[in-house]
């Protein structure tokens, strides 16, 4: 009887110490799940999901059970990837937050721009160049198409222009199976 109690106590102490050591030694800094979700999100920082950026949305998905269908720029691809990562069912994009649109970039009509710097302050990725009372210009390769610069512009001189397709970025369309294809 005593041996059994002693043995169990000894085991409990050993495993307790082991677990305690492991908890300290292998402590995970930060939240890896949030990082993984954030890596899937398109990083437009547009806030259409109603969270103030991609990372806050990732945090909300990981911690507050936010739905995975609130990212219009990511669209179906992002929803599928998130569903895959989190083991949830893919669901269609929430209509409330917007719809999946073709990719666009902001272009400033430079003769209309008054150089107020408001768009520069709004741009989440510092993709607008300019200074007070100087014409502003968008670095197209850095623009994520988030549309956050449209609203603050006092003279509405920013246009969202669809990204033109070229042969280097062209994608084969999803096969249309209603029509038979060529076959020798």
């Amino acid at each position: 009887m005593l041996t059994a109690v002693l043995a169990l106590t000894a085991l409990a102490i050993v495993f307790g110490l082991l677990l305690g050591f492991a908890a300290v030694r292998f402590k995970v800094e930060g939240d890896p799940l949030v990082d993984q979700i954030d890596a899937i999100l398109p990083q437009t920082q547009c806030g259409q999901c109603s969270y103030p950026g991609c990372r806050p949305y990732a945090e909300a998905i990981a911690n507050d059970g936010a739905e995975i269908n609130r990212c219009p720029p990511g669209g179906e691809t992002t929803i599928i990837a998130l569903a895959d990562l989190l083991g949830r069912e893919p669901i269609p994009l929430d209509e409330e937050v917007g719809e999946e649109k073709p990719k666009t970039v902001a272009i400033i009509r430079e003769d209309t721009c008054i150089g107020c710097t408001l768009c520069i302050q709004a741009c989440p990725v510092d993709a607008i160049l300019g200074a007070a009372k100087q014409m502003h210009s968008v670095i197209e390769s850095e623009c994520t198409g988030c549309e956050l610069c449209l609203e603050p512009c006092p003279v509405d001189c920013i246009d969202m222009v669809p990204v033109t397709e070229d042969i280097f970025h062209w994608k084969w369309p999803y096969p249309d199976e209603t029509a038979a294809e060529a076959k020798p």
């Binding site: 999100l41 179906e76 990725v125 850095e142 199976e177 294809e181 076959k183 020798p184």
Partner: protein, 568 residues
């Protein structure tokens, strides 16, 4: 000695249809009025134009230079005037436009000065040969258009075998067949140059047994040379590099690897002839042999076509199109793609223009569901699981598709060819591949955006912290220094008073004053006293206010500072 041949798994035997276009010898195509030369006729970076609109150019003149490592130059394919450098439709499955140099020909077809180099190729180092081949704009003429000079770089590997690919396994196409029949000596001359550049131990020339005339011609020319002409049994897609290597040597090129890693280099026979022209004659690549065939044209034939010639111009020379043409395909029926218009120009990779009628290409019934018969897996020459890949592509599960080696697919079309349900399998793989590439590009862009966003966040935070620190410091200084300042003023005033006193400075010139003057002085003294009184009372009031609300002035101070900061 008869060489032992091996097999690759799978493959199909589609109807050949080659005889219709091999009845006539190769003819030079007539010169079109306008040539449209795309800057992107090869795999890799587009070439960069080095001529301007209005320039007069000669045939063989370089008009665009290779940019980057994987690239090839473009040369004027006839003499004339550059009339535009703009976006025009090019042969691409998308039907999109791309940058082209447009030349109005002057009908003279005058060559730029050229000739054989002073030093024969045997005395040139391999790197100089490669450079010449690069500046001559030579790319693989089998259909893929990979810059040839890169494939002539052994890159530190010992090259055992150089294989010249005259297999031409795809139905309808006969341009390599005709080249081998009519110009075998050019091919051999090119092969010698390639062999010299690669220092290859042996050279094999592979020809399918459905081209006996070509085989005979090459055997004839090879007499006395140590080149081996090998006849291989007809089987599609034997002309694919990796499959041909397997058949000839029983070696397999590793997945994601290159033949050069196992000591083998494969070049098309047309490329060999082009290299001969470039090195031995100094002529850059300005034309190629194109098969114009299919039931849609009256007289199928092979033409030697200057690049940039519109397809319509060639179809007209072959008796024009019949009314029941369904589509114009560039390449063969297995791997080619439909053109969106007949104004599209011939480029370096155009081996065939197939004017197909409905009977030529369209299956008799519509697409049906997959019945999991497994025929596609039986014929796949790369030993993939086409059916599984199709399910993954259909469901957009691209990572699963990659796990099943989607990128080893050579898009040969065997699976689609045998599919009893007519499922466009290859289209699914092409869709999945381009989708994966696009996702990779987007991922890269997202990472960049994330980095920029995070940097911006940290910058804003840092600026806010710096500002707060600065304000705190100012405030502290104002509070601590407020008393000091007052004391300093008082001290200064006291000093001034003491000084005045010491100098004994009283009113001067006060003797001998007249009555009125005295009155004026008195008045002034009175007013001075009054002013002093008012000033004193105001000072007292201010002091009282300050002690009442000590934060007030400090706050307005900081407000001012904030406004100032904003302006800064």
């Amino acid at each position: 000695m008869i060489r032992q041949l091996f097999n690759f798994k799978g493959g199909v035997h589609p109807p050949q249809h080659k005889h219709s276009s091999t009845a006539q010898p190769i003819r030079p195509a007539t010169l079109a009025k306008q040539l449209v030369l795309p800057l992107h006729q090869h795999i890799g970076e587009s070439a960069v134009p080095i001529v301007e609109v209005g320039d007069h150019v000669l045939k063989g003149q370089k008009i665009a230079r290779a940019e980057g490592y994987v690239s090839a130059s473009v040369h004027a394919s006839s003499s004339g005037t550059v009339v535009a450098i703009e976006e025009r439709p090019i042969p691409h499955p998308s039907g999109l436009n791309a940058q082209c140099i447009v030349i109005d020909t002057d009908a003279e077809d005058r060559w730029i000065e050229h000739g054989a180099p002073v030093t024969p190729y045997t005395e040139m180092p391999a790197s100089q040969l490669r450079n010449l081949i690069r500046t001559s704009g030579i790319v693989g003429l089998g259909g893929a258009g990979f810059p040839s000079y890169i494939k002539l770089n052994p890159a530190g590997c010992q090259i055992d075998t150089l294989i010249l690919n005259g297999v031409e396994c795809e139905p309808y196409i006969s341009c390599d067949d005709m080249l081998m029949r009519e110009r075998p000596e050019q091919i051999i001359a090119g092969a010698k140059i390639m062999r010299h550049a690669l220092q290859a131990k042996q050279v094999l020339i592979a020809i399918e047994d459905n081209k006996p005339e070509a085989y005979a011609a090459l055997v004839d020319v090879c007499a006395g040379e140590d080149f081996e002409v090998v006849q291989v049994p007809t089987l599609y897609p034997q002309g694919s590099e990796k499959q041909l290597i397997k058949v000839l040597t029983d070696k397999e090129v590793p997945s994601n690897g290159l033949p050069v890693q196992i000591g083998i280099v494969v070049h098309n026979v047309g490329t060999a002839a082009a290299i001969h022209n470039a090195i031995d004659l100094g002529k850059p690549l300005t034309s190629r042999i194109v098969t114009i065939t299919g039931d849609g044209v009256a007289e199928p034939c092979n033409l030697e076509v200057p690049f940039g010639t519109p397809m319509q111009h060639l179809l007209d020379q072959c008796g024009g199109l019949r009314n029941d043409v369904d589509r114009i395909i560039m390449g063969g029926p297995m791997m080619g793609f439909a053109m969106h218009s007949t104004a599209i120009p011939v480029v370096k990779t155009t081996n065939c223009i197939l004017a197909a009628t409905k009977d030529n290409v369209t299956p008799p019934s519509d697409v049906m569901p997959c019945i999991r018969c497994g025929a596609c897996a039986d014929v796949c020459p790369v030993e993939l699981l086409p059916q599984q890949l199709q399910w993954f592509a259909r469901a957009k599960e691209f990572d699963r598709a990659q796990e099943y080696n989607l990128f080893d697919c050579i898009e040969c079309g065997c699976c689609s060819y045998v599919c009893p349900s007519n499922i466009p399998l290859v289209h699914f793989y092409r869709y999945a591949k381009t989708e994966i590439w696009s996702q990779e590009r987007e991922k890269e862009k997202a990472d960049q955006a994330r980095q920029r966003h995070e940097f911006r966040q940290s910058r804003i935070e840092r600026e806010a912290a710096e500002k707060a620190a600065r304000l705190a410091k100012k405030k502290a200084a104002a509070q601590a220094g407020g008393g000091d300042k007052q004391a300093a003023i008082q001290a200064a005033m006291a000093r001034a008073k003491a000084k005045k006193h010491a100098q004994g400075s009283g009113p001067k010139n006060t003797d001998n004053l007249t009555e009125s003057q005295q009155q004026q002085v008195n008045k002034a003294d009175e007013m001075r006293a009054k002013a002093q009184q008012i000033a004193e009372s105001r000072r007292a009031q201010a002091q009282a206010a300050m002690t009442d609300k000590p934060g007030n002035t400090a706050k307005s101070d900081s407000d001012n500072q904030a406004a100032k900061d904003e302006k800064e």
